[in-house]
């Protein structure tokens, strides 16, 4: 006799784009801090991608409210144990970081670049948060399946990483910058994220057992197995591993990861609300 919250497509899009924004930003911060001078191009793509995405996220969240004009009420209150409350704050704070990092990514000055790297190390924490908290928000509700999923946050975070990196890679490919060492590095990083995501997904399903049925069987089953596990994880992972020097295959892999990331959010959000 439970009631579903009626979170639908705008929330699916928010979870998906928020994951990419967080993933792209922390990837950029890592490339900026630990990569070579050339990897700064990767970092800039990541910063500049996360800024508009987080802006769209904010709009999606506000529009989905019952009374959008009261969205500021969430900013008048803070509950450290409540994913919805911390999440609202984190979207705002993360947005400020993406703005500052994006602006500073155009600098030619080495001292400003050094400042940007330090700022991004802090902003990175909010990026990780944004990618993962949406899962924790669902898993701390009274809903069946959502509330049973101890690894929902871990799964969303890994998916945020893989989709964020895939989005950066795809933009590099489309803008003709898919070459050299940096392209190889983002592919390796994305490969690792996909492996983590597959591993977490396997444990997630194993732990849930029959409680995972809302996504593994029924009308969402084919989408889950074919769209997410097959086309969205295993196929892109194989393309990434064996695509070799064919950059187009790397780009196809990245595009499939993005599709898989969307399907993950879609099947999870819609599972118990259909």
């Amino acid at each position: 006799m439970l009631k579903v919250p009626g979170w639908e497509m705008s929330i699916v899009w928010y979870f998906f784009l928020g994951g990419i924004a967080g993933g792209a930003y922390f990837t950029a911060a890592i490339a900026d801090n630990f990569g070579s001078f050339r990897d700064r191009a990767v970092a800039r793509v990541g910063y500049l991608l996360s800024l508009p995405l987080v802006a769209v996220c904010g709009v999606l969240l506000v529009v989905d409210l019952g009374v959008p004009a009261r969205f500021m009420n969430m900013m008048l209150h803070f509950k450290f144990w409540d994913p919805m409350s911390i999440g609202a704050w984190a979207v705002g704070i993360f947005g400020a970081f993406t703005f500052v990092s994006s602006v500073l990514s155009f600098t030619a000055s080495e001292s400003v670049a050094s400042l940007r790297r330090k700022i991004s190390l802090v902003g990175m924490l909010f990026g990780f948060f944004l990618a993962g908290y949406t899962g924790v928000l669902l898993s701390n509700s009274a809903m069946p399946f959502w509330g049973d999923s101890r690894l929902m946050g871990a799964l969303f975070l890994a998916s945020g990483g893989s989709t964020g990196m895939a989005a950066v890679a795809l933009i590099m490919f489309l803008s003709g910058r898919a070459m050299g060492e940096s392209w190889h590095k983002i592919e390796v990083a994305d490969r690792f994220s996909m492996l983590v995501e597959l591993l977490v997904l396997a444990i997630f399903l194993g732990v849930l057992g029959s409680a995972a049925q809302p996504i593994t069987s029924g009308h969402l089953g084919p989408l889950f197995w074919g769209g997410l596990v097959g086309a969205g994880l295993i196929v892109p992972l194989l393309l990434n591993l064996f695509g070799g020097r064919m950059r187009a295959l790397g780009a196809v892999s990245a595009a499939l990861v993005l599709v898989g990331g969307f399907i993950l959010r879609y099947v999870v959000v819609m599972s118990i609300q259909g």
Binding site: G35, S85, L137, A142
Partner: protein, 258 residues
């Protein structure tokens, strides 16, 4: 905090007249709804944004002391949990606990995020599309602050719904369970009366004549937020794996990268 107020719904006394449901509608000006055909006298199937008190009509085979089919009646309502999932979930502070221990939604603050709807273990909180806010039983907040009991309790002709101080009502309820057991109702039990039990006890608690599941109530409702630390730590673990992977990928070769 003042002495905790409570409502005790003794389902063994309910005659299914639905005066409580009507009184609630009238006092709280909840307005009309399209009726739902449920196959019984029950209407609606569940709480809505305009139905805060709901008499449930349940046919339970074998639940009578002599083994016959029992026609169970239960006037259901928001439980005003001592540990309330909706209250913990609310990011705006619109949901608050009154000095009497009841849980209420401030309609001027709620912005309609609906996390409380997903966080109620009983499916009580409902979203109202017209106002864009979450709605549920207010425990007649206006009435109890003016020396009156809730409208439903006031209207109940059989004292199936009783209003008073929680400790008094729990003592009364325990006596009533014993009396019913003496009459042969072996499954008579209290639901939510124990403040050391689930959710810290319910401030609207019930006397049931059968197992909670018979009434579509969860046997062991749990606070939805109980796993927030574990889930967060697991997410941090995932973040470390993904982050270290990216770090290794981007690390400068001169420093011993792959």
């Amino acid at each position: 905090m003042a002495r905790t107020l409570a409502m005790f719904t003794d389902t063994s006394l309910c005659i299914g007249c639905r005066a409580c449901q009507v009184a609630c509608k009238q006092w709280n000006e909840l307005g009309l709804e399209t009726p739902e055909w449920t196959g019984t006298y029950q209407n609606h199937a569940h709480f809505t944004e305009k139905t805060f008190r709901l008499v449930r009509f349940i046919e339970a085979p074998g639940a009578k002391p002599n083994g016959d089919l029992a026609w169970l009646l239960m006037s259901d309502v928001c439980k005003h949990c001592a540990q309330a999932g909706c209250l913990d979930a609310c990011p705006t502070g619109a949901i608050y606990r009154t000095e009497h221990g009841t849980v209420n939604i401030n309609q001027d603050v709620c912005n309609g995020c609906r996390y409380c709807v997903a966080s109620c273990p009983f499916g009580v909180v409902s979203f109202n599309e017209q106002t864009g806010t979450a709605k549920k039983c207010t425990f007649c907040n206006d009435r109890i602050h003016n020396g009156l009991g809730p409208a439903c309790a006031k209207a109940c002709p059989t004292d199936s719904i009783q209003f008073g101080f929680r400790d008094d009502l729990v003592a009364k309820a325990n006596k009533r369970v014993e009396a019913l057991k003496g009459m042969g109702f072996k499954d008579a039990q209290l639901y939510g009366a124990d403040s050391g039990g689930f959710l810290g006890g319910l401030n609207a608690f019930f006397l049931l004549l059968a197992r909670p599941a018979t009434y579509n109530l969860p046997e062991h409702p749990k606070l939805p937020q109980r796993n927030v630390v574990v889930d967060s730590l697991l997410s941090i673990g995932s973040a470390i794996l993904v982050g270290v992977g990216a770090m290794l990928a981007f690390r400068e070769r001169g420093k011993g990268g792959e």
